[in-house]
Each structure stands twice: as C-alpha cells, then as structure tokens.
C-alpha cells in the first residue's frame, strides 16, 4: 500500500514525464500489434486464397518444344500444368486484360465476389474496383472492342493479385486497369495482343531452382554464361519464373518488410522509453538519495526499497501496453484496407491474438526494468553514511574544463558548465537530432527524386513508341524517328543497344548540362551510355566497352553520357548497328506523335508516354504522402523527446530557476541560459547529417541501380537545407516555449 501511494505521488509529481513514457509505450505496442495483426490476417488470407484458387507456382512462356517436355515431366515431377491465354487491349485511356472463362479451370481459378461468371455470349465480369470508380452496376452494359457486354459479375483473376499487365502502368490504377472474363467464344472474337503461357502448379513444395548456362548451340553447360537461364528439374525457364510472378508474389515481400518495420519501431520506441525512464529515475534517485539512506538506516532491506522503484515501470507498462494492444487491434482493420488497396485480394475479417498482448507487456517490461534495475541497484548498494551525505557533483575533468573556460564571459561560461554537466542528455539530443536531420534530408532529397527522374527521362516531345514484331525497313513518315533496338549482354545482364539517326526529331541525346551530344555518334565505334549504365557499372566518358552486337565482339568508345535514368541503354548510330547485323535501314521501333500505327498488324505494342507519366505522377503523389506521414511521425517523436528532456532539465534545475527568478532574472534570460544550450548541438547534428545522408542515399541508389532498372539524380539546394534547418528549429523552439510556460508558472519560493 505504501509503495502504491508512493508511486501515485510520483506520477502526480511528474505528470508530463509519465504521460510521455506511457505515450511511447502505447505507440510502440500499438504500432507493433496493428501491423502484425493486420499482416497475420492478410498472410492467412493470402495463402488460403492461393490454395483455394490453386494459384500457379511458376509460369513459362509458350514454345512448341516446351509443351512436349512438360507433358513428359508432369507425371514424374508431380506437377500439373495448364495453357493460359490472355489478350490485352487499350481503348481510350483504359487498359484491359481479357481472359477466357471456362468452368473447368484447374489452375488460377478466378474468384467471384458478386454475381456470376459469363455463361452466354455478350456477358462479362470485371474488377469491382474498376466498376466502383466508373459507377458500373451488375446488369449494366459495358463496351469493349466496339461491342457491348452485359456485366454479370465482379471477379478477380487469382494470378493477378497485383494487377501488373502493361509496361506503361507499373503502378496499379483502379480507374484505368480492368481484368475481364468473357466466354471462350467471345475471347476468340476480341482483337488484341495475345499472350500464351503455361501455368504450373506443384502438388508438393516447389523444388529449388539452379542456374545453368546455355551455349550457342542450345546445350546446357554449368557456370557463368552469356545468357543466363534457370532450370527446374530439366525444364529451362526464363529468369522471371525462378520465383513467383511479381503480380502474385509482390504481397509476400510486403509481409516480410512490414514485419521488420513493426519490430524495428517497437524496439526503437521501447529503447527511447527506457532512456526516458532512465533519465527520470536518475533524477528521482538523486532527489531521494537521502530518503534511501534513511530507509536503510531504519533497517529496511535493499530488496524492499528496490521493489518500490519497480512499481512505476510496471504501472507504465501495464497502462501503455494494454492500451497499445487494444489500439493496435482497433487499428488493424484499417491497415488491412490500406494494404489491400493496391492488391486484388478479397478483404479478410479480423481477429484478436492474445500472443501480442503478452508481447506488448513482456518486451516493454524487460526494456524498462532492465535500466531501472541496474540504476536503482547502483544507488541502493551504496553505504548508508554515503547516502546521507550531500552528493558531490563535481568531477575532476569537469573542474579542469571549468578552469579552461574561465576566461570567457559569465553567461557563456554558465552555459558551458550546464552543457558539460549533462553529457548524457546532450548525447541523446545530438543522436536524435542527427537521426531527425537524416530523415529531413532524406525527405528533402526524396520529395522530388521521382519528379527529376520523370523530367530527365520523359522530356522528349513524342507521345508514342511503336514496337514491331520484327525488323522492318519500310519508312512510313519522314516526321518520325526510326530506332533499331537490339539486346545484348554485359557482365551477365541484358542491356539494350538503341540505334538512332544522328539527324532526328525526338531522340536528341543530352548530357547533364543539357548539351546536345547526339552528333558524337558519327564516329565509327562510338557509343553513348545512359546514366543508369554509368552508375551500375561505374563507367565514365572515355572508357572502352567490350560488346557483342550482331555476333561479333568489338570494343566501343564511350563518347558521352545521357541524362535519362530509366532502363539500361547504349546509343549508337543506327546505320552502324544495321551494318553489325548485315542490314540496311532496319528498325523495330518508331518514336512518333502519330496514333495511326495501331492499325498495323506487324506492331507488337504501343507504349504511350503520357500514360506512364500519369501513372508515375500518381505514384509520386502517394510516395510524397507516405514521406509526409513518416516526417510527421518522426517530428512528433523528436518533439516529445525534446519535451521530455527539457522537462527533466527544468525539474532538475527547479531550485536554480527559482533562485534566478528571485534574483530578478527574466524568464527569457533564464530560458537562454538554461535551455538554449542545445542549439549548437542541433546545428552540428544537422550539418553533419547532410553529407552522411547524401552518402547513404548515393550508396542506396547505387544498390538500387544494380537491382532495378532505373537510377536517380540527387539534388539538394541551399533553399532546401534552410527549410530543413527551419523545421528543426520550429520544433526546438516550440518545445522551449512549452518549457518556458512550465517555469513561468513556478512559485517564486525555494524551489524545493
């Protein structure tokens, strides 16, 4: 009872500190529970969905030789396979994936959400997201390929959990992308680019794949090769079949990364909470040192005194942990909706998991009691006589420093004394302001990273790229650019050689300074590389590159670097690329503003620049929103951390502040002398964080460039640097404003 009363008194005395500790515990356990609970439910739903709809393990591109091999191997390797047909249409601004619906589909069974599947001609199902965006109801008529269909159901294609089916739309857009099931007969009637593949479903676990080399004769050899493919028990597959298709497996990646994020946030916030508790306890023990000494002198055991210091963290953990768990449970359905927002997966129902309640109580308790235990033990184990004497604050190093600074004016010296007296707080503030600065710099750089990418890459004035099935020679218009594109390999990776005309309308090559460097391609063995290749392979202008174009290995001289950042491209004069493959005037791409090429039979796909720009812009907006959210969260944490520390400082210096007020120091002057001592540390942390973050971003982007097919240009103007600094100072001064309020209200008595 006595212990409980003591704790209640303590909570009353340090209300703000207790609230901040509980808030951090609440946030850490709340975030952890909400993310994990949402992921549990989603993961469960995802794997059940894969099982129920019998979603493919791998898919293989169609070829006549594979059909025979598959048939032979399916029985002995315990897998089932099925031919999959699909057509792609672009009408107006919409992209459609058309699939034939058959009752006896074994692999990738479609999932019906509402209505029924098409049974008769002129019937279709579509994505509910698309229908909702366009106000389409069951029974409405919808027109594609100049024919009207009755919408009889809303359904998902189970192998399109992430609906990625066109290059121009790498990010899902509900209002633009639609997956449609029609009857097989209707499917045959619809004109569109057809894709045929095999879906393979293993009855047991998918065996591990291994890399092999295929030589020029098509024989399999082990080791590094010019063309790397993968083999699964004797069946050669293309690279993307090693793992599940992105559109099926992308969600799996989110599970792992988000769980990692939840654990990281849990431990980060718990670490901060225990730091707060450590500071608060240290201050409390300093105050109660004499009291401990008296209790010990009266005969109370160390363990009794020790236990009394555990009641406070237990109470904080109890309140923060339980509230956090229930908040997390409440939040998880919203998180599920956000997660599922970019995917085509039926919305699961949520549940409680008491394991998380145990985690919410156990980990915080371990974290908080660890520091509490050792700190309290350290004080309690001291001799009674020592505890009863007033504490000597002064250390030898401190007094040496004191003498060193004695030549400076008093106000400056006073701040220095305060600074070096609380090195722990300075360290914590410096570390956290450094981390916050890192985040600010990351956000300031990241906020227009994609904009620059978009601007640098898609700044050309043409609207369409028309891809042909084979190399053509017939010129349709003198207003368009004809490109010959050939794939080759470099260091085991595929890169594209683009043969362009030196005199062209849309394909001018420009360097970082926006200088036209296209004419440099006139030189016989010259090539121009783009920024991604430069970054990926650490190349520079003047280097020689060994490449095999048209079967002959040659050295090419890099005469320039273009500013475009998406795709691994090497530019060469089209005439020379044609010579390499013994052709004259050949091309397989046209860059144009003309939309009439769509009617040609020989084209494989038309790539609309404005669509990808819009798609990217939408994703950029989402990315910005995400960055803003992260920024707000981190700034709030930084704000509370500073508030906690300044509150502790005010508490610790209550007597001094009261004394200064009695002497006639104004609140402003006291704030300057006691609380503004951290400004230099904020400045140092901020300016140190700039090069560190730039270095980290560069390293990260270099890594990304290796793995992905785009690179970024990092820019950080002085205006942005000032904005970042301003943000840090706004937080700091708002904390000072609040702290000033606290000591403005202090009673002008003795402070204790």
């Amino acid at each position: 009872m006595m212990l409980l009363l003591n704790v209640l008194k303590e909570i009353k005395e340090k209300k703000l500190q207790t609230i901040i500790i509980i808030l951090f515990l609440f946030l850490s356990t709340g975030i952890y529970t909400s993310i994990n609970l949402a992921l549990d439910v989603l993961e469960n739903q995802y794997y059940q969905y894969l099982k129920k709809q019998n979603v493919e393990d791998i898919s293989v591109g169609f070829s006549s030789s594979i059909e025979k091999t598959l048939k032979r191997l399916s029985s002995q390797n315990h897998f089932d396979y099925e031919v999959k047909l699909s057509k792609e249409i672009k009408e107006k601004n919409y992209y459609y994936k058309i699939l034939p619906y058959q009752k006896n589909i074994r692999i990738n069974k479609p999932y019906l959400l509402k209505g029924r599947f098409p049974q008769h001609k002129d019937e279709m199902t579509m994505l509910p997201q698309f229908a909702r965006k366009h106000g389409i109801q069951l029974g409405d008529l919808y027109s594609i390929d100049k024919k009207e269909y009755k919408v009889v159901g809303f359904a998902y294609a189970s192998d399109y959990i992430y609906p990625l089916f066109h290059l121009a739309l790498p990010f899902y857009e509900e209002e633009k992308e639609n997956i449609i099931y029609v009857t097989p007969w209707e499917y045959q009637m619809i004109k569109g680019e057809e894709e045929i593949s095999y879906s393979i479903d293993y009855q047991e676990k998918v065996p591990r794949a291994f890399a092999v080399k295929i030589n020029d004769k098509g024989e399999i050899e082990e080791g590094e090769g010019s063309l790397k493919i993968f083999s699964l028990k004797g069946i050669p597959f293309t690279l993307n079949t090693l793992e599940r298709m992105t559109r099926i497996g992308k969600l799996q990646l989110e599970f792992a990364t988000n769980r990692l994020l939840a654990s990281f946030l849990l431990f980060l916030l718990l670490f901060l909470s225990s730091c707060f508790l450590f500071m608060a306890t240290k201050h409390q023990l300093q105050r109660e040192r004499r009291q401990i000494g008296i209790l010990k002198a009266l005969g109370y055991s160390s363990s009794f005194i020790l236990i009394s210091y555990f009641v406070y963290p237990i109470l904080c953990v109890g309140i923060g942990g339980i509230l956090g768990y229930y908040f997390g449970t409440f939040l998880s359905p919203f998180l599920i909706k956000i997660f599922v927002g970019s995917y085509l997966l039926p919305l699961p129902s949520t549940f409680h998991n008491l394991v998380y309640l145990k985690i919410c109580l156990f980990f915080p308790f371990v974290f908080l009691s660890f520091s509490q235990f050792f700190l309290t033990l350290f004080v309690i184990h001291k001799k009674v006589i020592f505890l009863l004497q007033p504490e000597k604050h002064i250390k030898k190093t401190f007094s040496y420093l004191h003498r060193f600074f004695s030549i400076f004016p008093f106000s400056f010296r006073f701040r220095i004394i305060f600074t070096i007296r609380s090195l722990g707080k300075i360290g914590l503030i410096s570390i956290f302001s450094f981390l916050s600065s890192l985040f600010i710099i990351f956000i300031l750089v990241g906020i227009d990273l994609f904009d620059i990418l978009l601007k640098q890459t898609f700044s050309a004035s043409y609207q369409n790229i028309v891809y042909f099935n084979q190399i053509e020679t017939k010129r349709y218009s003198s207003r368009d650019d004809y490109i010959l594109s050939l794939d080759t390999t470099f260091h085991g990776n595929t890169i594209t050689v683009l043969g362009i005309d030196v005199i062209n309308h849309y394909s001018r090559l420009k360097d970082d300074k926006n200088k036209d460097i296209t004419e440099k391609l006139e030189e016989k063995n010259s090539i121009i590389i783009n920024r991604l290749i430069k970054q990926k392979y650490s190349l520079k202008q003047g280097d020689f590159l060994s490449l095999t174009i048209g079967g002959e290995k040659k050295y090419y001289h890099i005469v320039g670097i273009t500013k475009d950042m998406v795709g691994s491209y090497i530019y060469r004069k089209r005439e020379y690329v044609n010579e390499d493959i013994n052709l004259v005037g050949g091309y397989n791409q046209i860059r144009t503003n003309d939309n009439s090429y769509d009617r040609l039979n020989s084209i494989s796909q038309t790539y609309h620049i404005c669509d990808i720009k819009t798609n990217f812009k939408k994703e950029i907006d989402r990315f910005r929103l995400f960055l803003s959210f992260i920024m707000i969260c981190f700034f709030s944490l930084f704000f509370f951390l500073l508030l906690f520390i300044t509150n502790i400082i005010v508490e610790e210096n209550k007597k001094l502040i009261c004394l200064m007020k009695v002497f006639g120091y104004s609140d402003k002057k006291i704030e300057k002398m006691v609380l503004r001592i951290y400004i230099p540390f904020l400045l140092i942390s901020y300016f140190l964080a700039i090069p560190c973050m730039i270095f980290l971003i560069k390293k990260g982007l270099h890594f990304l460039a290796q793995k992905m097919n785009f690179s970024f240009l990092i820019t950080l103007s002085w205006q942005k640097i000032l904005i970042g600094l301003l943000l840090i100072f706004i937080i700091y001064f708002s904390v000072l404003f609040l702290s000033k309020k606290i000591f403005s209200n202090m009673i002008l008595l003795k402070g204790e």
Binding site: P390, K392, H393, I394, F398, S399, H402, R403, F410, S411, R413, F414, I417, F418, R421, K655, L656, L659, M660, V662, F663, G664, Y665, S666, K669, L748, L749, K750
Partner: protein, 224 residues
C-alpha cells in the same frame, strides 16, 4: 526619514483543500531606509511569510503594501521583476549556492543580473573569500558558504537585503562573523537589512526589532 516600505492592514491567507489559514493578520508596518530591522518570533508565527511578501515573491491577500511610495499590487509583473532585480538582495538559511559553480561564479550569478554592480574581486576581498574563489560550495564550511551567499546578494549593491534565518545553521563563532559582516555592509553602503530570525543574538545588531506571534506584529520585548 525616508520610508522604504509601508504596510497597511496586510493579511495573508493560505487556502488548502477548503481549509483557510490566516498567516498574517492586519499587519501595519513602516520600514525606514538604511536601518537594520530584525523580526523575531517562534516557528509558524508568519515572519518568513512577511519577508517573502516584502521581497515581492509572495502576494498579499488583502491590505496595502507600498514600496518607495508605490503601491506594490498595482505594479506590473515586469516592473516588480525590475524592482526585485535592481533593489533587492537575498540571503537564505541554507545558503542556496549552486553546487556546480565556484565561489566566484556563484557571486557572478548574483551580479550578472544588473548592469551597475560591485566588483567581484572587491567583494571577495571584503568577505575574506579570496583564497576560496575557485572552490566549489561543498569544499567550504557553513560560515564560508553563508559569506558567499551574502557576497552574492551584495554583488548588485541592493537597496535592501532580505535575510531569512542567516545564522540558523551556524555555530556561535560563525554567527558572530556573519552578523558583523551584515553590520559592516549596512554602515558602509547604507543598505537596509531586514533579518528574520529565531536568534536573540541578531537583535544585538538591529536598529529596530519586531516580534511576531500568531500572524500579528508587535514591539519586541526580551522578557516575553
């Protein structure tokens, strides 16, 4: 005769959980400039509260308090702060020295608040603290610490020095030394000194002595 303070029917009531306690009851008092005034009385008589009210660090519940003929209650908080800064010095029973500051720095803390101040070196010499100037409070005796506290209060050359039990924690020898010092300050600079104390020795240096009991003030009688 210049009046520094005038109190008319000043009362102070403390309220705690609906319980009201009258600490000062209708006090009428006039304090002349340049005098040493001692207020004696038992614990709980209200003498420290009176000192705090005079020093402007406590408010009155009713009555009138004049400082240099100005009604204190009507002064803005900024003006009150300015008066406290420029005209008032404080000496406490438990010294209230800052443990992280040296003797010299503790005095500087008192001096730094005003522009017109007494030289620190002069004060150190006057208070016989020169050899201790770089020491920390914990390295000094009680008497030495109280001398530092007096030096800190005198650094801004105040018009009035408030001393709350200045010799309460000191032995006889140190008590005498501190009282001599206060007398010296009064004579040399004309500083008004108001001392609140239990000790009857203090009355020996005082020009006027008041006695407080149950919140009322009266003339001092040694036989009371």
């Amino acid at each position: 005769m210049t009046l520094l303070y005038k109190l008319e029917n000043v009362s102070k009531i403390y309220s705690q959980r609906k319980v009201k306690k009258l600490v000062l009851n209708q006090i009428n008092l006039a304090i002349e400039k340049g005098k040493i005034i001692a207020i004696v009385g038992p614990s709980g008589s209200g003498k420290s509260t009176l000192l705090n009210i005079l020093a402007g660090i406590e408010t009155i519940s009713c009555g009138y308090l004049y400082f240099q003929n100005q009604l204190w209650n009507q002064l803005s908080l900024k003006k009150q702060l300015q008066y406290r800064r420029n005209y008032m010095g404080f000496v406490f029973q438990n010294y209230n020295l800052i443990p992280n500051l040296t003797v010299k720095e503790n005095i500087e803390l008192g001096a730094n608040v005003v522009k017109k101040r007494i030289s620190i070196a002069y004060l150190l010499k006057e208070m016989d603290l020169e050899i201790h100037k770089n020491k920390y409070p914990y390295q000094l005796s009680g008497g030495e610490q109280q001398r530092v506290s007096i030096a800190r209060a005198c650094a801004k050359n105040p018009l009035i020095l408030f001393c709350d039990e200045p010799t309460g924690s000191l032995d006889g020898e140190n008590e005498k030394r501190v009282l001599d010092l206060l007398k010296k300050i009064n004579q040399k600079r004309g500083t008004t000194i108001l001392i609140v104390t239990h000790s009857i020795f203090v009355t020996s240096i005082a020009d006027i002595v008041f006695q407080m009991e149950n919140g009322k003030i009266g003339e001092y009688s040694p036989f009371r």
